[in-house]
Symmetry: C2
Subunit: 355 residues, 2 copies
DNA sequence: TTCAGTTTCGTTAACGTTACCGAGTTGCTG
DNA sequence: CAGCAACTCGGTAACGTTAACGAAACTGAA
């Protein structure tokens, strides 16, 4: 059962020799540039295919002295959640890694509670000459305007975190939102009995800017309704970032509704954990929320939160840059990226998360 | 909030100029070789640190024309489970990727039901001159003997899939087995009520060779006992690979015990799924098992299996080779690898698995 | 002082690919 | 047929690092 592997990698030089041309010509057909006749192009291509030539990406990366520059346009982290810090962490890893190739990456952080900072930043981006820009599209209409400008100037665009279907030039890197909602519902169905009361909580100031949350909620509700298990589902908005304010609202809603499970539709789930940690006399429901933030993990670890659904914001950020790198440098065509995995974290596996 | 990043990467050449030495000398201190005086070594090192020099790994990989060769020594896939196929898939990905660097990788597949094939293969490995060998240590005592020989010949060793603590030279790449057991118990606790009956199933011919399964079971049982929820737990071995034989045993045990949940301790969980798919009149318990195999996913998708706990065998295989690559070529020291993540798959997120 | 041996260091050719520069060829116009 | 553009193609220097080779400087003993 000894499986030998003696596939000596063939280089551009050998190809050239076999085709009886110079390496420059081989390079031209490889990168399908002009300045090569159809006849020789065909001949070289045949030999390339024949010998299963694979370019040495490292040599390529070493050789090319590009002056690519990318912009990253995402919210700055708020006082209420470290979510964007994670994304930024991934971005910075990419900045570090790709600076080796002379890629310059500038990061623009806008305030997700102030649309004017977004328009300001996006204007700034346009004054410089970027080859591509990574965008977290929070403000939908403003982003659409910005995308128009990018298109005119032939600046490639790619989304992270949420998608405006079909409007960026390079697509979207992030989780399927509807599926994350369905997954939450799936877990919910294990946690509670028939006829239970389920509370959906949307917590954040300026909720009108988080249109994508509705997709999650749809997935959640549709899944549960299809089960015919007589759940009573209530959807509540708490448009605040202040714990004390939120606590007051929570006190009222939880008191009135007395839910068996709370589904927090974003990363603010730690607030709910904190609430039940303080108000011990209130019956603690099951809790499901999002994202691997320190404050969330704390309540996962002490049993307050049952499940954390994770979309790896850091990986998202990194992958977006990685995608650009591959698009520009390695010239990989690649079908539009695979969707991000959706991870489930519990008290028993969170320690091994993050790879 | 504009965050500029203008860290021009400095090269070995600039370092040489700054230190007033040749690039060869810089190279010597970088790879701390001999043939350089303590004085200049210190000076160069200072300048390296000062300028935060980071070697260009791609240039290094391009330059070095090593003749490294690794061996991989894992079980061949049996008729009963595609588990090792997955691991092999990851290995092959590594073979492909690292052949660019002139690394030669030979794969030796032994029969996990026949210890003689293992000793035969491991002897074969020793006749050749490998720099390192990746081992899945199924046969503990035989592996230990083999490791002794490797140590004598200064062949590096690294484990995948399961560990014999402290006996390989480069450590272990794989999940923490006890934690996977605990995680299964954690999910179990959500799926069933107090006083439920839980059936632990160990299915495989030659079970005596799977000592590591006990670690999983310990984690599972300990976790549940600590909950004080009055579970009735039964642990059953079915030492067979034949479905008909297994079905007979299952029929008997399930009939007698009537479990509320079955925990299959390895990847053979699809057999149990098939069983309940055929015997519709028997009350189907919840089912938890391991590994992202096609046959398992099939029963996850149709609702037979509730949770699949995944240890990414393909990633394990790839990471093992990647680790060797980094150890030999990039000379990264790196603290002994992070543990593998432990993933939870349900009917709602399996589609997005595999990245 | 000489000379062999050792220690320390610099020069240079690779590694596989890219891209600039310029030389040869063809085709067309006047 | 001259002249000139357009099209093909080859030569070669770079990219940052490694390693083989040999030169220089130093050591110590005769």
């Amino acid at each position: 059962m000894n499986h030998k592997t003696d596939n000596k990698k063939i280089g551009i030089k050998e190809i050239a020799k076999l085709a009886n041309v110079s390496i420059a010509t081989v390079d031209r057909v490889l990168n399908n540039r002009k300045d090569v006749s159809e006849k020789t192009r065909a001949r070289v291509q045949a030999i390339i295919k024949e010998n299963n030539y694979q370019p040495n990406l490292y040599a390529r990366a070493l050789s090319v002295k590009n002056n690519l520059s990318f912009a990253v346009l995402i919210p700055k982290t708020s006082s209420q959640t470290g979510y964007w810090d994670l994304c930024l962490k991934g971005i910075k890893q990419g900045v570090e890694e790709f600076s080796t190739f002379g890629i310059n990456i500038d990061i623009f952080l806008y305030d997700q509670e102030d649309v004017r900072t977004f328009t300001k930043m996006s204007d700034d981006v346009l004054t410089r000459n970027f080859n591509a820009v990574v965008i977290a599209p929070i403000f939908i209409s403003e982003t659409t305007v910005f995308l128009e400008e990018c298109k005119k100037r032939k600046i490639e665009t790619i989304f992270v975190n949420s998608d405006i279907k079909g409007s960026s030039s390079l697509g979207y890197i992030g989780p399927d939102l509807r599926s994350t909602g369905r997954l939450a519902a799936n877990l919910t169905s294990y946690l509670v009995q028939d006829k239970s009361k389920l509370l959906i909580l949307n917590i954040a100031r300026g909720l009108q800017n988080y249109a994508y949350l509705n997709t999650k909620i749809e997935g959640y509700v549709d899944y549960l309704n299809a089960m015919n298990r007589d759940f009573e589902i209530v959807n509540i908005d708490i448009p605040s970032n202040n714990y004390d304010e939120i606590a007051i609202d929570l006190l009222r809603h939880v008191g009135e509704f007395n839910p068996d499970l709370i589904f927090v539709t974003n990363s603010r789930v730690s607030v709910v954990g904190r609430f039940f940690n303080e108000f011990r006399h209130i019956r603690k429901p099951h809790i499901i929320g999002f994202d691997f933030l320190n404050e969330n993990v704390e309540f996962l670890a002490n049993g307050m939160i049952d499940f954390l659904i994770c979309q790896r914001p850091d990986k998202q950020g990194y992958l977006a840059l990685n995608y650009l790198y591959r698009h520009f440098l390695l010239k990989e065509e690649k079908e539009n990226f695979k969707p991000m995995p959706i991870d489930i974290l519990t008290i028993e596996n969170y320690l091994f998360y993050e790879n």
